[in-house]
Every structure is written in structure tokens, then in C-alpha cells.
């Protein structure tokens, strides 16, 4: 048992970072595991140091240079919460390469550079953890890698993007058009000024890549995951939920169906992985059909367990900080990477990836939405 504290450097003090920093400053007994090192905040890198001081972060912890935290001998774990591609990717890779543990909520970096980061982490024997990257505070990756370790997963499905689920729920309840609910979601802070990543399904694609790594042992290329429903003319429709109309929602509702942006990855009989993130026509009375608003839900079909589901808040600073802090406790307890216990990921080129095949239901807009159960 180590008694040396684990010195933590946090990059980013946005909605999640603020909560993580506050929890670490509070020094809750929950952040001092009985069989691991206590967690101690040792540095915070932010864009605006003055604002962070005003928000109560002690000045001596602050820097505006994240690379300083990566290079510092006085930091054991890097918590990357800045988001985006660069410099996050390089900061994470450099920290892992120099033997630091890394905890991140950055689904884009993990999904797009996961194979590279896993290789670096394994070579350097540095843990990389990313529970917060999928479904915010809902424990999903941990249970998949640990509790369900003995299972063979046939399929994983999920509503993993709160923004689009909020929008689809509002369209169904209030009969409003896509553009209208998008504006509303932006006003409420559920959608960003540039909503592309959410509404085109790219955020959900990233989360599906991460789920698929844990259940199928491969890092799928995000661009290989279909994010467009078909059309009645056999073409590819608009990406994500951008083509869903109020008429589509109403017409499907009349048949007892609810449209949800469903991320699906399953193992086909020929060994290929079928993966899609598309608006899907689900039975209104099904658990997915009833999953409303910003709630996330992930279902896993596996043997021998059967179907298990995980539900909860998929976004928000407080909820997501739960996963980041849980990962920090895991690092302090020597639990290794999120994939610990699983074999190293197999090379991407050896696996065929194709969209999920199946029947679809025609809608007034001309889209043909896949039918889900």
C-alpha cells in the first residue's frame, strides 16, 4: 500500500474541470481510498488564470501552460478536460510516454487516436482511463471491462447523446420542427453554438467507438461508422438527426414508434462488426423509446448474462466529474487502464466494419429509418 499522495494536474476548468477541482480541494475522505494513495491537487492549467483565481482556485496551483503540467516531476496523473483534438492528443500522448497516468473525458481524442494512445500507454506501462468519455457519470466502461469480463458481447446499443435526445423528445411532445427545437436547445445550453458534432451524430459515433473497443477488442475508425439513415430511393439520407422532420416524428408516432438517435455495434456472423449511429424507429413502449430528454441509456446483449442496461445523466459537470474522480481513485488503487484485463486491441485493418443491416420504415421526408426492437 502506497502512502505517497498521488499528485494530480488538471487541464481545463470548464463545466467538468470546475467540479473535479472543487472536489479535490474539498479533500473528501472518498478521495482517499482505503487501499491506495490519497488524491492531492497539485496543478491546474487554464486559459484564463485571473478568472480561475476569482472562482476560488488557489493561485499557486494555477498555470496557463498545460505543457508545464505534463513536463513537471511533481505531477503523477494528468486529468485532461480541455476537449478537442490538439493539443489534447499530444498532451495525453506525452504524459503517457513519460510514465504519467492520464484520466480524460475527451471522447474525440480517445475515439480518433485510441489505437495510438493504447500503444503508447502499454509500452510505457502508464494507465489511461476514460470512463467519463461515454455516458458522463453512468458507470459503463468499468462494468463492461470488469464485472462482465466473462461475457461474450453480441451487441451494444445506446442513446449516448443527450442533446439530440432532448431535441427528439421535444419534437415528439410538442410537434415542433427540427430548427425550432435546436434553437431552444441552444438557448438552454443543451446544444452548442456549432451543434454539428451532436446533431450529425459524430459525438455519438465517438462514444460507440469507445464502447466497441471494450466489447469487441478493436478500435473502429470513426469514419467507418454509418451516421446516415437510408432513403426510400435507396440513397444515403441526411447525417444524424438533421433530416428528421416533425412530419416524420408524427407519422411514426401514429404507428406507435418513437425516433431515437441510436448507436449500435454488433458482431456479425462472418466476424465483421456492424456499426451505425442513426435515427431509429423504436417501439414507443420500449425502454429506449421511453428514454426521454437528456437521459442516456446503454444496453448490452451478452452471454451468459442476457441483457443488462445502464441509465443516467450522460452530461453535465457534476455528473461527469463522478466518472473522472472514480477513475482517479482507480489510478490511486493501481487498477491500471480502462481496458485492464482485456487483451491488447487488434489492428484495425484486420476487421471489416460495415453499417448495421436490417429493415427500415419509410417516413414522409423520404427517409427510411431502421427499425429497432
Amino acid at each position: 500500500m502506497s502512502v505517497q499522495p498521488l499528485r494530480i494536474g488538471v487541464i481545463g476548468a470548464g463545466t467538468v474541470g470546475r467540479e473535479v477541482v472543487r472536489a479535490l480541494l474539498d479533500r473528501s475522505p472518498r478521495l482517499q481510498p482505503a487501499d491506495g494513495a490519497p488524491l492531492v491537487l497539485a496543478g491546474v492549467a487554464v486559459r484564463n488564470v485571473e478568472r480561475a483565481i476569482a472562482a476560488g482556485v488557489p493561485e499557486e496551483l494555477l498555470t496557463d501552460a498545460p505543457a508545464h503540467l505534463v513536463a513537471s516531476d511533481e505531477i503523477d496523473v494528468l486529468v485532461e478536460l480541455a476537449g478537442g483534438d490538439e493539443p489534447a492528443r499530444t498532451l495525453i500522448a506525452a504524459a503517457l510516454g513519460t510514465g504519467k497516468a492520464v484520466v480524460t473525458a475527451n471522447k474525440h481524442v480517445v475515439a480518433h487516436h485510441g489505437a495510438e494512445l493504447e500503444r503508447i500507454a502499454r509500452e510505457a506501462e502508464s494507465p489511461l482511463r476514460f470512463e467519463a468519455a461515454v455516458a458522463g457519470g453512468v458507470p459503463v466502461l468499468g462494468p463492461l471491462a470488469l464485472d462482465l469480463a466473462a461475457n461474450r458481447v453480441a451487441r451494444v446499443r445506446g442513446i449516448v447523446n443527450g442533446t439530440t435526445n432532448y431535441m427528439l423528445t421535444a419534437m415528439a411532445r410538442e410537434g415542433r420542427e427540427y430548427a425550432d427545437v435546436l434553437e431552444d436547445a441552444q438557448a438552454r445550453g443543451y446544444a452548442e453554438a456549432d451543434p454539428t458534432a451532436d446533431v450529425e451524430g459524430l459525438d455519438a459515433v465517438n462514444k460507440l467507438v469507445i464502447l466497441a473497443r471494450l466489447v469487441f477488442g478493436h478500435w473502429l475508425a470513426p469514419e467507418a461508422i454509418g451516421n446516415r439513415p437510408g432513403t426510400t430511393r435507396g440513397e444515403a439520407g441526411s447525417p444524424g438527426i438533421t433530416g428528421v422532420t416533425a412530419d416524420d416524428v408524427a407519422a411514426l408516432a401514429a404507428e406507435g414508434r418513437t425516433i431515437r438517435l441510436l448507436a449500435t455495434a454488433r458482431l456479425a456472423e462472418d466476424g465483421a462488426i456492424e456499426a451505425s449511429v442513426v435515427p431509429t424507429a423504436l417501439p414507443g413502449g420500449s425502454a429506449f423509446g421511453r428514454c426521454d430528454g437528456v437521459l442516456n441509456r446503454i444496453e448490452v446483449d451478452a452471454a451468459p448474462v442476457g441483457r443488462v442496461a445502464f441509465e443516467g445523466p450522460g452530461a453535465g459537470g457534476a455528473a461527469t466529474s463522478s466518472a473522472v474522480l472514480g477513475d482517479l481513485v482507480a489510478v490511486a488503487r493501481g487498477q491500471g487502464s480502462t481496458w485492464a484485463g482485456l487483451p491488447a486491441a487488434t489492428a484495425r485493418s484486420r476487421i471489416e466494419v460495415r453499417p448495421v443491416a436490417g429493415e427500415c420504415v419509410a417516413a414522409p421526408s423520404g427517409a427510411c429509418y431502421p427499425v429497432g426492437d
Copy 2:
């Protein structure tokens, strides 16, 4: 990394034991964690050796004396799946005391002798794991102890007994009486010949004791957990669901309420723990109200995460074997006990335990069912 295989002795070859033995004999790669010892079946103790041979268990692994497995130098982990109080309690205690790891699905023994077994396990530094004791194959205890480690849990609630949930679902759907659906559940194998433990809520009480240990750090005395709803005359009603009538179900349904046997433990403001397992009037449209048949659902209200839920098959040999095998993988990977990372349980005598307080709704039978949200 250990390369010595972990030699497993299984006690009991009932519905769960059969599945565990079969999985171990199949030597799936999933049972050989990348960073731990491979799992190898080394012994099986059964009542009827002839029957086990006929079922395909190799004769050289079989014994009718479970104590032989506990005493054997050639067994590293004991898997106790015989159930009941004695001799399971003594076999588990003896195995832990001699340095063996123990994995069990025995909710009765863990709930009734948890404090004693935890003390023995800690003194001997032997891991004790019991994920299968709550909600079968649904990962709940692991996520509570690991992924949600940084949270302060305010309340845990669950539908954790499939038998009674099947019965209440059938009563509501078909308007049938308690005695009638009990007979049906027995015929289908969902209820035992002596259904007392299920219908009086004692099985759910055991599961609540185990959940409360992980979230509140105390082993509650099972007999301190209320299992009777109140009555309109202010008395204690019949235990568990035994007093629920078809009229009660219909009257509450008319008000949009669904009766479910809900296990609840919450932290009161004065530091007491309120804990009950009683038929509860839930909104028909709530996730608990819609949790039908033999499905289990557990909800955790915690800070900072908010509300997270776990759902899936709470019983059945295959589903439950998933949790047993997951615990075996965890032992092989050196993960310690189910409570690893948490402080040792505090002494029972120091915590006040009382039934959950709150409003109730009067029903035709004279019962007054607590109102849930």
C-alpha cells in the same frame, strides 16, 4: 503478473453451479485475463456425484465432501453456490481463514454473517466477493464500490426480487388474486415450494443489507429492516407482498399507481439509516412502475453523479454465472474483495436503523402502502 493458474473449487452444482462449471470446463479465453492468472476448475463438490457425472462433470473433479475442497492445498479459490445458512457459513469462514479467496452468490450468508466474514477476510487478507448475491448478473456492487467510489450516496432503491415482481405484474395485468399467481409462479419455477423468503421480502432484505454495506459502510441487521407496510389502523400489515390483494392492485391502478416490492435504504439527516422492503405505490409511468416481470432494477441517488440505474435479469443460472465468473476474473487479477477500496465496515451497534418514513396510500384491504416517486 502471475502465470500460476488459479485453482477453483466449486461447491454446489444447481442452476448457477452448473453454468459456472460448464464455463470453466470450456476454458474460454475470457476466463484468462490478460494481466492475471488463468482460471482452472480443480474440484466440484455435489450432493449426488452420479448425477454430476451423468451431466458431464469429469469424475476426477468430483467429491461429495465440500470440506475437502476447503481443506485442500490444491484449491486457491472456493466458489460457494450451495446456498442456505450452514454449512455454507462455516465453509466460507474456514476457507477465508486459511487464506483462500471466496466467491459466493449466497445472499443469506453474506447478509446475516457479513460483519463476521468481513472481519475474517480482512484479518487473513483473503478476498471475499459476492456480486452475484444482488441482482444476479447485473453489475451493481462493482460499480458502487469502484466507478461511483467518489460519490456520497443518499439513497439506494431497488426491485431486487424477481419472484414477487413477476407475481405483482401478473396480478396487475390479469386482475388475479395473490394465491392464484403464487401457484402459477410455483408451476413456472419462478417461486419455490416454500415461497416464504421471496413473498415475505426476506430475500430482498438480504440484498438490501448487502447494498447498504457498500453505500453506507455498515452491515445492517436484517431483522432491523421493516418488511411490513402499515395499515389504516396504524398497525403493522402482513409481511412482504403476502397481504396484497387484487382489489388493492386495482384500486391503486385506478389512481395511476403500480405496486412493487421496493427495497429502500437512505441516510437520514440525523445519521440514522432508514431501511425497508415493502410493497410501495409507485407512479405507473415511472421506471420502477414499468419494471415488469422478473426484471431487476436498482437506482442510486448520489452526489455528484445524480441518479444512475442498473437493470437486467436478477436471477437464472446463466445470468448469475456471469457475476460469479466476473468475480473469479477479479480474484485472478488481484482485485481483492467486493468492498476493496472502501473503509472497513463500522460496528452495527453504533448506527440507528429504522423503517423508511413517509406518506402512505390507503388500500381496500386496510393496508396503507408507502408512496414512492
